[in-house]
């Protein structure tokens, strides 16, 4: 039996230990905001937080996260920080097909909560593990920049 929390809810499962956290989230919990892209940790579409750290859920065997606190894109959607990113991405035109966006938003949130006023280089580094095949990234960088400016105070370290 593996026990952990997912978006604040306690999960107990007897799924095999090698099941990928990504598959568990999508297929058992039906939380389909988290996407599968490459399945090899290179595209970031499956990004989630594990104990507040950005991680690729396609690389996590569920048996390794006993006791961990897992948060998906659904788990942050009610937050002020998410609203800030949502508006900024819309305003900057950072979303086209949208497939990378849940992962991109998770990476953006991870970056801003560690570094509320990132430089452009730091923004690019923060999303360097997330591939987007539509925007060419510039609008996403603009979106994060805007979120940092508009969200002044929101992202301060607690």
């Amino acid at each position: 039996m593996i026990k952990f929390t997912l978006n604040g809810k306690t999960i107990e499962t007897d799924a095999p230990a090698t099941v990928r956290l990504l598959d568990f989230i999508r297929e058992e919990q039906l939380l389909i905001g988290t996407k599968e892209g490459c399945g090899e940790g290179e595209c970031g579409a499956c990004s989630v937080f594990v104990n507040n750290l950005l991680q690729n859920s396609c690389l996590i065997p569920i048996g390794s996260i006993e006791g961990a606190d897992v948060v998906t894109i659904e788990g942050i959607m009610e937050s002020e920080q998410f609203k800030n990113l949502d508006e900024s991405y819309s305003h900057a035109g950072g979303v086209q097909c949208g497939y990378c966006i849940p992962g991109m938003v998770m990476a953006s949130a991870a970056l801003l909560s560690q570094n509320p006023h990132p430089s452009e280089a730091e923004i690019r580094e923060g999303i360097s593990g997330n591939l987007c095949r539509c925007t060419g990234y510039n609008m996403i960088v603009d979106a994060i920049n805007l979120a940092a400016k508009k969200g002044d105070g929101l992202w301060q370290k607690k």
């Binding site: 940790g41 690729n56 996590i60 065997p61 593990g129």
Partner: protein
């Protein structure tokens, strides 16, 4: 769910070691290599051919401490943890920052980079020039092995099935006044496997070379290092003459034998490797003014 999957996640290292002594298992630390190596199609768990032992949560494997001038790094420290640790040398942090991207650095471990023994392992050139030693532990006790003996070939390591890599030890790395550089050449900054990796180490006494070491990654089955070539430079003075530099480059030209693959060509790799060597040997930063 068809076949039963056996996986262990013990609370302490001792229990883990006694299980490993009973049963040959696949060890998973961060899992960022293992999960890709055994990847199945979407929705199907990776097929790992042995029982699994998870070790990344074990606090015994996450310590970083100084012992006199030696630095001991717990094998299961993640790259991000090392980036945040003031004891880790800046040049090693530079190498770590070239690995993958933040999300993988939050999971991947230094011990994993060593035990995966990839020819392109990003931290390996530096660990070789630091003369890193590896502390391996089993129920029978500890042993310490130089990294160059431990890594024997492509994904081949000298680990007994009942052993766990506990620490990577960098001897005399703190406060020894050496100048160390690391360079990686890849297709892009993030998520790139190295075409060439290079680490250079030099320690001067006045303007005389007291110690010098070079290691090349991704240009052979394991890191290329030659103590014989290094010895040629001992006692020479900096700035090195053009003929000194040419002599060292020619010596490495003979032993660096890269291959063509989908990432790069042998010719490109060799040219870049020797250029990096030449660049290091003619660097001004470490030379007395």
């Amino acid at each position: 769910m068809a076949e039963k999957i056996i996986a262990y996640r013990f609370d302490c290292l001792d229990q883990t070691l006694s299980q490993l002594n009973k049963e040959n298992c696949a060890i998973i630390a961060g899992g960022t290599d293992v999960m890709v190596m055994y990847k199945s199609r979407r929705g199907v768990p990776p097929k790992i051919p042995k029982p699994i032992v998870f070790i990344d949560h074990l606090s015994e494997l996450k310590k970083v401490y100084q012992n006199q001038k030696d630095l001991h790094i717990g094998a299961c420290c993640t790259y991000s943890e090392l980036l945040g640790n003031p004891l880790i040398p800046i040049v090693l942090k530079k190498a770590i920052k070239t690995i993958a991207a933040p999300a993988i650095r939050n999971r991947g471990t230094l011990g994993g980079n060593v035990c995966n023994a990839s020819p392109a392992g990003d931290t390996l050139p530096l660990l070789y020039v630091y003369n890193a030693k590896l502390l391996l532990r089993s129920v029978k006790g500890d042993r310490i092995v130089p990294i160059s003996d431990f890594i024997q070939g492509v994904r081949r390591i000298q680990r007994e099935s009942n052993e766990i890599l506990v620490e990577i030890i960098l001897p005399s790395v703190l406060d020894d006044g050496a100048h160390v550089i690391f360079e990686k050449v890849g297709n892009r900054n993030a998520d790139a496997i190295a075409k060439v990796g290079f680490a250079g180490y030099i320690r001067l006494n006045g303007d005389g070379i007291e110690d010098v070491r070079f290691a090349f990654g991704a240009v052979g089955p394991t890191m290329i290092r030659s103590v014989a070539i290094e010895k040629m430079l001992l006692g020479r003075t900096v700035p090195l003459t053009d003929s000194d530099i040419a002599q060292v480059v020619a010596a490495f030209d003979k032993i660096i034998k890269p291959i063509d693959d989908q990432r790069s060509t042998a010719l490109y790799r060799k040219t870049v490797a020797l250029n990096l060597l030449r660049y290091f040997l003619s660097m001004k930063q470490y030379q007395p003014t």
